[in-house]
Symmetry: C2
Subunit: 211 residues, 2 copies
DNA sequence: CCATTAAATCAACAGCTGTTGAGAAAATTG
DNA sequence: CAATTTTCTCAACAGCTGTTGATTTAATGG
């Protein structure tokens, strides 16, 4: 080897001196969330960010990698889920519902990656895989060794249900869901999710003694 | 007028003599359901139906009209929803859940149009509109003047929830949901949907006396 | 000023897309 | 047979797509 003490002092222009990379990412995030994967073109993203299309390709090497970059969920959104499960079982349903709704319908920089992921999961297999593991891991962490072995199933069902409601509101645009306020929504959702996550003890006669 | 008795006796080849039109529709239905709107190309549909691409354009004048034709839901699927609401309230949840699951996960010629509609609703606005009215009308018909004025909201929520679960199973492919059998799924879903559609009378102490 | 490194622009490519038009083949009637 | 109507085939178009390479500009240090 040659001399090892500070002989390569990094000459030339420094990377990341402009905010272009960030601008591209934000433009892509909005496009993917609002228009979906297929309808989002490199040229459109580039135009939104006031940049040449080939610039997008230089930073993110392909459309798929750009999409993957958008999929990187802000940790803030994830943290809300972790804290939602701490505490008593009594209002677990409501806490989970609130955590979900605030994550999906909150500030743009929080909800847009989730929205983009959901839309993308329909058409893009890699997006489906990420959403899959996202749903799997989050709610599971909360319900682990809570009731029994089907805790995972109940977590998955609750998660899918809530994603379904969000989809109905945000993507499909079901009028009734849009008309309802968030609190009104929670009033109906919370007991149902509670029912799924913490199944009620048998109210009436349970057919368990025989067979 | 001229002579009205059989003076234009329709000469030439009769329309609809081949099953091509039907073959195209079925191929398109499968493609739209499995690959989504964007990934479904006229040429692919044509190849599936062993037909030239321009033939698809002759029967259905554009890709959008072909999609609209696929969206025409078989009346069979719709009828199941109407009958699901007749009967007592006690097991309304379970009946609705069964109706939904059988419609979305049943035979291909029944579930594929629904699947195509769901996938399409994410990217295609006209598909979203149809799915919207579909969700609105069906469950509403069953819960009309059942509890109170928010019956529509409860119906919409229940519907979105179930669509969410179906999406989780069929499209996203959440492992936990896939691993569970249909009956196991119903066991968890039914009480929750019941809770949404027919809200339980307060089980424990209800904070209603004061405030 | 020169060298180096990254950012940004420009023009172009091959491929696929929905769509169109001309025409051949098939079916049906006189 | 000829006439007519529909089904089907073939070739091609203009447009958009993701992507690439060459080149220029900007920033930084010797």
């Amino acid at each position: 080897m040659k001399d090892s003490t500070a002989h390569k002092v990094r000459r030339g222009r420094r990377p990341g001196t402009s905010n272009t990379r960030q601008a591209i990412l934000e433009a892509a995030r909005a496009r993917f969330a609002n228009d979906g994967f297929a309808a989002t073109t490199i040229r459109l993203v580039a135009a939104d960010a006031s940049v040449d299309a080939s610039q997008v390709m230089q930073f993110y090497r392909s459309k798929d990698e750009l999409f993957a970059a958008v999929m990187a969920i802000p940790s803030e959104a994830l943290e809300r889920f972790n804290t939602a499960f701490e505490g008593p079982d009594d209002d677990l349903g409501e806490r989970v519902v609130r955590a979900y709704l605030s994550a999906w319908e909150g500030a743009h920089d929080v909800s847009e990656p989730l929205m983009a992921m959901l839309r993308g999961a329909i058409v893009n297999e890699s997006a489906a895989e990420q959403l899959r593991s996202f749903i799997q891991s989050r709610l599971l962490e909360g319900t682990r060794e809570r009731t029994d072995t089907d805790a995972a199933l109940r977590a998955g069902i609750a998660s899918s249900m809530l994603v379904g409601v969000v989809t109905g509101r945000q993507i499909i645009g079901v009028p009734t869901l849009l008309a309802a306020g968030t609190e009104e929504l929670i009033t109906v959702l919370a007991p149902a999710i509670q029912q799924v996550l913490v199944p009620q003890p048998p109210l009436r006669a349970e057919p368990e003694s025989h067979a």
